[in-house]
């Protein structure tokens, strides 16, 4: 019952990256089983391990959890990263949903056909610069505290920091406009558990390169 969580996914960021970060921030060591071929995905499906035939899937506490949000919530609950009461939890959930909406367009970007990339990049920059980053900068400004909710690290902070890094890779100047977000990112990155995760040899994944994209397209039979 108490083994390390096992993450089932491909060797890339995709939808699993926020989960890796959150486990890392909670100081939880985990194992990864990487899918490399379509057969690897089929096996998981045939074994009945995937409730909706989809990954990510995380084996944790005797369960095979799917759905990124559900997995993040379970980890947050278990490791005290979900606020201290219902009101804080509601705010954390609200912020997480917004971050997840932005992540939808960010995470898919490496896998788009080249003719669709320009429009998508434009959309990512627009949504990040004009909708999501200002919203969270405003939250931090409104209370002047170190974290988004209740002056304590939560899953919303961790997920936001993941997106801050990923968007900056696509829009290099963006963080200059958001000093409080930049400070939050530094603060979270310097937490001992997170620092270890980010070091060379840590489990953080790089931006998906051509080789990774090819493997993924094959596994999921994308364009």
């Amino acid at each position: 019952m108490s083994g390390k969580p096992i993450l089932h996914y491909f060797d890339g960021r995709g939808r699993m990256e926020p989960i890796r970060w959150l486990l890392a921030a909670a100081g939880v060591e985990f194992e990864e089983k990487f899918m490399k071929t379509r057969e690897d995905l089929q096996k998981l499906r045939n074994d009945g391990d995937l409730m909706f035939q989809q990954v990510p899937m995380v084996e944790i506490d005797g369960m095979k959890l799917v759905q990124t949000g559900a997995i993040l919530s379970y980890i947050a609950s278990k490791y005290n990263l979900y606020g201290k009461d219902m009101k804080e939890r509601a705010l954390i959930d609200m912020y997480t949903e917004g971050i997840a909406d932005l992540n939808e367009i960010v995470l898919i970007y490496p896998f788009l056909p080249s003719e669709k990339k320009e429009a998508s990049l434009s959309n990512i920059k627009d949504k990040a610069r004009n909708r999501y980053f200002p919203a969270f900068e405003k939250v931090l400004k409104s209370h002047g505290q170190d974290y988004l909710v209740g002056n304590k690290l939560s899953k919303a902070d961790v997920y936001l920091v993941v997106i801050l890094y990923h968007v900056e890779e696509l829009d290099s100047g963006i963080m200059a406009n958001f000093p409080l977000l930049k400070a939050l990112r530094t603060r979270v990155s310097n937490l001992p558990t997170v620092k270890k995760f980010l070091e060379p040899g840590g489990k953080r994944k790089p931006f998906e390169d051509e080789k990774c994209v090819k493997i993924v397209k094959n596994i999921f039979q994308l364009n």
Binding site: S73, K78, A90, G98
Partner: protein
């Protein structure tokens, strides 16, 4: 004076689930209808954290993001499973329905008739996990998770009810059909589903259905 206010477009959309939940829990709430014209004017949009509706008020707590609102109500009324493990399952089911709704929305928005035909082809595969969950839980006689109602039940019911209107598809899903009939006949929910405020409310303002 009810503590709950829902501000949304004149449609079921992302709010009917929370309405069904509140009605079934014997709660009253205030509706602030936002017409597309009023929304286009911009003042309200700018005040919403991500520029989107629904906007929900629970006393002095203002929330956005329909799934966050649903979870808040789930916690408020003990509709989140009996422990953390059931809670995880409730979350999985809700998010599985969310995926399906997004998929359907995308198909219908691109090209209504073609999208509908394609979606209908894929639908048995999409509904199967929910039929399986029912089968594995007291032979489908109970709720989608465990033996008490959760917000995932309202979410799934909303999906099934809308499908019956748009794309009747449950004839091959014995347990889901029975589940839908059983939940819809809960007295307070039945009254809400028969009420003009539900019946006269279009499913989607955007799709005009």
């Amino acid at each position: 004076m009810p503590p709950y206010t829902i501000a949304y477009f004149p449609s079921r959309g992302r709010c009917e689930v929370m309405r069904m939940l509140l009605a079934d829990q014997g709660q009253s709430w205030k509706e602030e209808v936002v017409t597309l014209e009023a929304w286009g004017q911009g003042t309200l949009k700018v005040s919403c954290i991500f520029g989107q509706l629904p906007k929900f008020q629970d006393g002095d707590l203002t929330l956005y993001q329909s799934n966050a609102i649903l979870r808040h109500l789930g916690l408020s009324f003990g509709l989140y499973g009996k422990d953390q493990r059931e809670a995880a399952l409730v979350d999985m089911v809700n998010d599985g329905v969310e995926d399906l709704i997004r998929h359907l929305g995308q198909q219908l928005l691109c090209n209504y008739e073609e999208g509908k035909a394609q979606y209908l082809k894929e639908l048995p595969g999409h509904l199967k996990p929910f039929e399986t969950l029912l089968a594995q839980n007291n032979g489908g006689q109970s709720f989608i998770v465990g033996d008490q109602s959760s917000f995932a039940d309202y979410r799934l019911l909303d999906l099934l009810l809308n499908h019956e209107v748009l794309i009747p598809c449950l004839k091959d899903f014995r347990l889901l059909s029975a589940y839908m009939a059983r939940l819809s006949s809960r007295p307070k929910l039945k009254a809400f589903l028969a009420s003009p405020e539900h019946v006269n409310c279009p499913i989607s303002a955007l799709l005009k259905i």
